[in-house]
Structures are given as structure tokens and as C-alpha cells.
């Protein structure tokens, strides 16, 4: 064998090993991350079990309070009020609720806008010769660091909501059930109080998130709609479909991929940390009103992790991180299989 060939095959082997090694390393990182979170979250999981997901109390401190007897009287022993210690409790439901509501609001706003924008880019923009610049802008929006969105939310959106939008909404809602739902909240003991309108709440978080997920949902929806075979669009138009009817036909054809686009948006909204932490109000409670301050899983971690000195507190936070990771993973996997699977199904059918 000539030496040059031997060298080349040696180089090939080295590169092959390098590539394989890189792939394994990346996978290994994910596995290591999962393993770390599982190990670290185990104490909290063992302590609280499934109630971790359903309990609303998140209290990292030990509580000291007078012990009460069966009749509800303070127990006095030797002339002194007996004190009992209530250990910390961790229930993640408020963070899960806050994540769900703020992401839900974000999707409610972002999905129609994104689908409309994607349809515009695919069907109208080429004719106006603005498809290129528009696509660039959309991708550019996705590249803006999230802290910028958060700062805009804090500096602009929050004061505007508090001073302009909410008073107007309150006047509009008047005494209807909407006012009861949005502007009143019930305390644990059943008394009803007005929601403190700070402008930092789930609605504000949802609005900022909506702006952040629009670019990604639009970009993916655009690619999915572009991959709809021409015969589908022409088929509907040739039968006399209007612009909307033919667009609806395209969306119907691409529905799996579009659903995937929405899932990707949801994954981004649920995992977004910085911007949400700045505008959500950071209050661990389960409130029906979208104008109540709340906490998302990500903002909870951002807020508490550096101050969590207690082992159980840390473990509980890492368990929240594990839930968030598994959820994002599931959303992403579903989304990708829908987007990719959707287009391969397209290719198979035509």
C-alpha cells in the first residue's frame, strides 16, 4: 500500500472517530443533564411525591406557630404558649399554572398573527417583491436577545397596561362576570379583594412571550406552507375557491406541520426565562385572573436558585427544572416529528 493512501485512510479514521465522538458527547451531555436533575430532584420527589405537582404552597422556610388543640385553642404548657414547627413545603402548581396561562395567552395572540404573516409571506409577498426583506426581518426578530424584550416589557408595556389599558378594560367590563373574573380575586379564607393592578402579571408576561414566539412560529409556518405542493393550491383555485378558501386548503394540507410550528412556539414560551421574570410579578399563587402576578417555572428558578441554601429547597427547584426540561423535550420532539414527518408524508403522497 502506498504511504499516502495509508495516511489518508488513517486521517479518515481519525475524522470518523472525531465525528462519532462529537455526536456521542452531545448526546452524553443531554443524558448527564437529565441524570443530574433526576438525582438532585430525587429528595424532593421522594418527600412530596405526586403532591409536588398539585400543591399550591411553596414555602422554603420553616414556620413557627402556636400549637392548637382539637378545639382550636392555643395549647399552653407551664404558662407558655407551645410552639410547633411546620417544615418547609414545596408545591409547584403555581409555577406550572403561571407557565400554562402565560404561554396560553402568548399562543392565543401569536398563532393567528403568525399564520397570517406566514400566509402573507408565501402567497402575497412574492408578488409585491417583499418576501426576501420580510423573511429577513422575521428571522432578525428571532435573534433579538430575550432581555431586550423583557426590558421593553418592563419599561414600556407594564406602565402602559397599568395606567392606560387596565383602567379602560375595567370601565368596559363594568359589573359583568368578566370584571368579577379579571379584576377580583379570592383569598384563601374566601374574602374577595380587588386584584392589585401592577402591570406585572400573567397577561403582561403572555404579551411579551407572544412577541417573542411570533418570529419562530411564523418562520416555521412559512416553510411548512411553502412545502405544500403546487397542485394542492391550484386544485382548490381551479375549482373556484376564493383566496381564503384556497389558503384554508393549504393550511389543512399542512396541518401537521403547522401544529408542529405551534408546538415549537409553545416550547419557547414555556422555557423563556429572562423576559418573563422581569414582567410576570413573581408571586407564587394560583389565580384565575390573568391580571394577577404569578410565577412561571423558569422565572421561579431564576428568582430563587441563587438564594436556595437549604438542600430540600434546592432539590425542589431542580425537580421543577427537570419537569421543565422533560416538557420542553417532549414538545420539541413532537414538534419536529410533526414538521419533518408532515413534509415527508407530503412527498409520499405526491
Amino acid at each position: 500500500m502506498p504511504p499516502s493512501k495509508a495516511r489518508r485512510s488513517g486521517g479518515d479514521r481519525a475524522l470518523g472517530l472525531l465525528a462519532r465522538g462529537s455526536a456521542v458527547t452531545i448526546l452524553g451531555l443531554l443524558v448527564a443533564l437529565l441524570a443530574t436533575l433526576v438525582t438532585a430532584g430525587a429528595p424532593a420527589a421522594a418527600r412530596f411525591g405526586a403532591s409536588f405537582l398539585t400543591e399550591t404552597e411553596w414555602r422554603p422556610n420553616t414556620l413557627e406557630r402556636p400549637r392548637l388543640d382539637a378545639r382550636g385553642e392555643v395549647v399552653i404548657t407551664g404558662g407558655e404558649v407551645e410552639i410547633e414547627e411546620v417544615p418547609p413545603r414545596f408545591g409547584a402548581l403555581p409555577a406550572i399554572w403561571g407557565t400554562a396561562v402565560s404561554s396560553g395567552i402568548a399562543l392565543l395572540i401569536a398563532v393567528p398573527l403568525s399564520l397570517g404573516a406566514a400566509l402573507f409571506v408565501v402567497r402575497i409577498a412574492p408578488r409585491l417583491r417583499v418576501a426576501g426583506p420580510l423573511s429577513f426581518m422575521i428571522e432578525f426578530l428571532a435573534a433579538i436577545p430575550s432581555i431586550a424584550y423583557g426590558f421593553w416589557g418592563l419599561a414600556v408595556l407594564t406602565p402602559w397596561l397599568q395606567t392606560v389599558a387596565y383602567p379602560a378594560m375595567e370601565r368596559l367590563a363594568g359589573g359583568t362576570w368578566v370584571a368579577g373574573w379579571v379584576f377580583r380575586t379570592r383569598l384563601a379564607d374566601g374574602t374577595e379583594i380587588p386584584v392589585g393592578l401592577t402591570g406585572k402579571d400573567m397577561l403582561c408576561g403572555g404579551l411579551v412571550l407572544a412577541i417573542m414566539v411570533i418570529p419562530i412560529v411564523t418562520a416555521v409556518a412559512r416553510d411548512v406552507l411553502r412545502s405544500v405542493p403546487r397542485g394542492q393550491l391550484e386544485g382548490t383555485l381551479a375549482l373556484g375557491a376564493t383566496w381564503w378558501q384556497s389558503s384554508w386548503g393549504m393550511m389543512r394540507y399542512a396541518r401537521a406541520g403547522l401544529f408542529g410550528a405551534v408546538m415549537l412556539g409553545l416550547a419557547r414560551a414555556a422555557g423563556e426565562t429572562m423576559a418573563v421574570t422581569m414582567v410576570i410579578g413573581n408571586n407564587m399563587q394560583v389565580a384565575a385572573s390573568p391580571l394577577a402576578p404569578a410565577q412561571t417555572m423558569a422565572s421561579l428558578l431564576a428568582n430563587e436558585f441563587k438564594e436556595a441554601s437549604d438542600q430540600l429547597h434546592q432539590s425542589a427547584l431542580l425537580l421543577v427544572a427537570l419537569i421543565l426540561l422533560v416538557m420542553s423535550l417532549a414538545l420539541n420532539v413532537t414538534a419536529r416529528s410533526l414538521v419533518v414527518g408532515g413534509s415527508s408524508r407530503t412527498a409520499a403522497a405526491h
Binding site: 408578488r127 394542492q232 386544485g235 382548490t236 383555485l237 381551479a238 373556484g240 389543512r252
Partner: protein, 297 residues
């Protein structure tokens, strides 16, 4: 290419190169870039026309795809458009229902009449036009929904809601497309599960479900196997009893089997147009004779 002045048409290069070199007045004239008047037999002109192209030209941006085509399309007959690739057959039929509107930078001149009115006149109701002119495409394009929903799609988008009416018209259209017996027990199943030939007949059923006046077919059998092709061809003859059919085909045997009239196009011009038997057995122009005998194109 030795002759300047003719650079039109995306595929004109190959087609012209394959054409005979001398003795063909029309091809020589086309090469010199001169206007050409096609030979239209009087048997065609005697027929009542549903569609009539008059001096119709079309440009894709700067390149000209159709050169002053004038041709009537007889009522309740099958008219075939033949010619080498890039000769403008598909472009021409896609003007009848204005599908070319989808293509950027398309410009037309002359008239394209349906029942006497110009479909390119300003203010034309394009959606209404497409309801009157059905179209079947090269590749079967069933929608991702049930067989039934496919067939009644044109009825639904025009506001027909009555279940019994939809069911009745679906059956009639599927019978009309010779598909009823094969699918009547699985109307609710996805149309994507049908074979290619069945899908194409479903597309024909869908195109006739709304009772159009004209049926355009753009190489409807090119993606089908021989058996499916035969069935679709039988179908084309059947539907011509009720509809005017204008079909583009690459396959000259197909044109001779299914059509009453045949138009031979070359480089965006109508060259010869007459009864199918005449075109294939006794063409008037040497160019047509060359093409139908398979010596070029």
C-alpha cells in the same frame, strides 16, 4: 442556433434543433421570427365554439410563450392539443381558466373568449370563471380528506350545505367518473389511500361535480399506468357528451384515440388544426405530417 431573432420559449432550443432543416415554410417563417397563421380546417370553423382564442399572445416576463394563437374549441367535443415540449399547449389551456394568474410576470394580449366574453376583460369574476371551467392536472391532486369530501369540495365552497343534495351530487359525479362502484363502500376513507388511477378519476369527478361547461385536462394520464390510462381515456370520451373537453397530451396515440379535433402547436404558434383523423392521416402541412409520424418533436 444559426438564425437570430427567435429565442422565445423555455424549451424552444431543443425542439427547433430536432426539427427538419428545410422545405417547411411555417417552421422557416417561425425561425425568421415572422408571424405565422395556422391552418385551421373548415370542419373546425363550422362547429359552434365554446372557447375562442383570438390573436392570443402571452409573455412570461420578457419571453414570449404564445404567438397570436387563434383557435375555436367546439362544443361537446374533445379537442386535443399536441406538440413538442415547450410549445405552449399547457400555457394555452391554463389561460382559459386563468390559472396563469398565479405565475408572476405574466402578460397577455388578444382575446380568450368563453361563450363570447373575454375572460381577461377587466372586472372578470375569476372565481365565477373557474366554476364554469373545470380542470384536471398532470399529477392527481386529491385533497387530504375523505373521498366524499373531495368530490363535494367545489359544492361546499360555493355554499351548498344540504346533506342529501351533496350525497346525490357526489354519487352522480362519481358515477360520471366511473369510480362509484369502486369507492361507494368507502366514501368516508381518505382519498390518499386510492391508487394513482383512482385518484385521477376522483379528480375528474371533483372537477365535474360542480357541473362546469368546459373541462380542461393538462396531460391527465402522464402519471398513470397503461391500464389506468385506458380507463381515463374511456372516461374522457364519456364526459364529452356533456362537457366540452380541451386536453393537452404528449401522447399522439392518445390524441388520436380520445379526441374529435386535434391542434398541433409548435414554438407557441398554432400550426395546424382540424378533425383528428385528418391531422393524423391526411395532414395538410408537411410539418404536421413530420410530427405526427414521430419524425421530430
Amino acid at each position: 442556433m444559426s438564425t437570430p431573432g427567435h429565442t422565445q420559449g423555455p424549451a424552444s432550443g431543443d425542439a427547433a434543433a430536432a426539427a427538419p432543416r428545410a422545405g417547411y415554410a411555417i417552421i422557416e417563417a417561425i425561425r425568421r421570427g415572422e408571424p405565422v397563421t395556422g391552418q385551421t380546417h373548415e370542419q373546425v370553423r363550422d362547429q359552434p365554439a365554446v372557447i375562442r382564442a383570438a390573436d392570443f399572445s402571452l409573455w412570461y416576463g420578457k419571453s414570449r410563450a404564445l404567438h397570436a394563437v387563434s383557435m375555436p374549441v367546439p362544443r361537446h367535443r374533445v379537442t386535443a392539443l399536441i406538440g413538442p415540449s415547450g410549445c405552449g399547449k399547457s400555457t394555452l389551456i391554463r389561460c382559459v381558466n386563468r390559472m396563469n394568474d398565479l405565475v408572476e410576470g405574466v402578460r397577455v394580449s388578444g382575446r380568450m373568449e368563453l361563450e363570447g366574453s373575454d375572460v381577461y376583460a377587466p372586472g372578470t369574476d375569476v372565481i365565477g370563471l373557474r366554476r364554469r371551467v373545470g380542470m384536471v392536472f398532470q399529477k392527481p391532486n386529491p385533497f387530504p380528506m375523505s373521498i366524499f369530501d373531495n368530490v363535494v369540495y367545489p359544492l361546499r365552497i360555493h355554499g351548498q350545505r344540504s346533506r342529501s343534495e351533496l350525497a346525490e351530487r357526489a354519487e352522480r359525479a362519481l358515477r360520471g367518473a366511473a369510480l362509484w362502484d369502486e369507492v361507494k363502500d368507502r366514501l368516508r376513507q381518505s382519498a390518499l389511500g386510492l391508487s394513482g388511477g383512482q385518484q385521477q378519476r376522483l379528480c375528474i369527478a371533483r372537477a365535474i361535480a360542480a357541473d362546469p361547461e368546459v373541462l380542461l385536462m393538462d396531460e391527465p394520464c402522464s402519471a398513470l399506468d397503461p391500464v389506468s390510462t385506458l380507463r381515463v381515456e374511456e372516461l374522457i370520451q364519456r364526459v364529452s357528451e356533456r362537457y366540452t373537453v380541451l386536453i393537452v397530451t404528449h401522447n399522439m396515440q392518445q390524441a388520436s384515440r380520445v379526441s374529435h379535433f386535434t391542434a398541433f402547436m409548435y414554438l407557441g404558434r398554432l400550426v395546424e388544426y382540424g378533425p383528428t383523423a385528418e391531422i393524423f392521416q391526411n395532414p395538410r402541412l408537411p410539418e404536421t405530417e413530420q410530427y405526427v409520424s414521430g419524425r421530430f418533436g
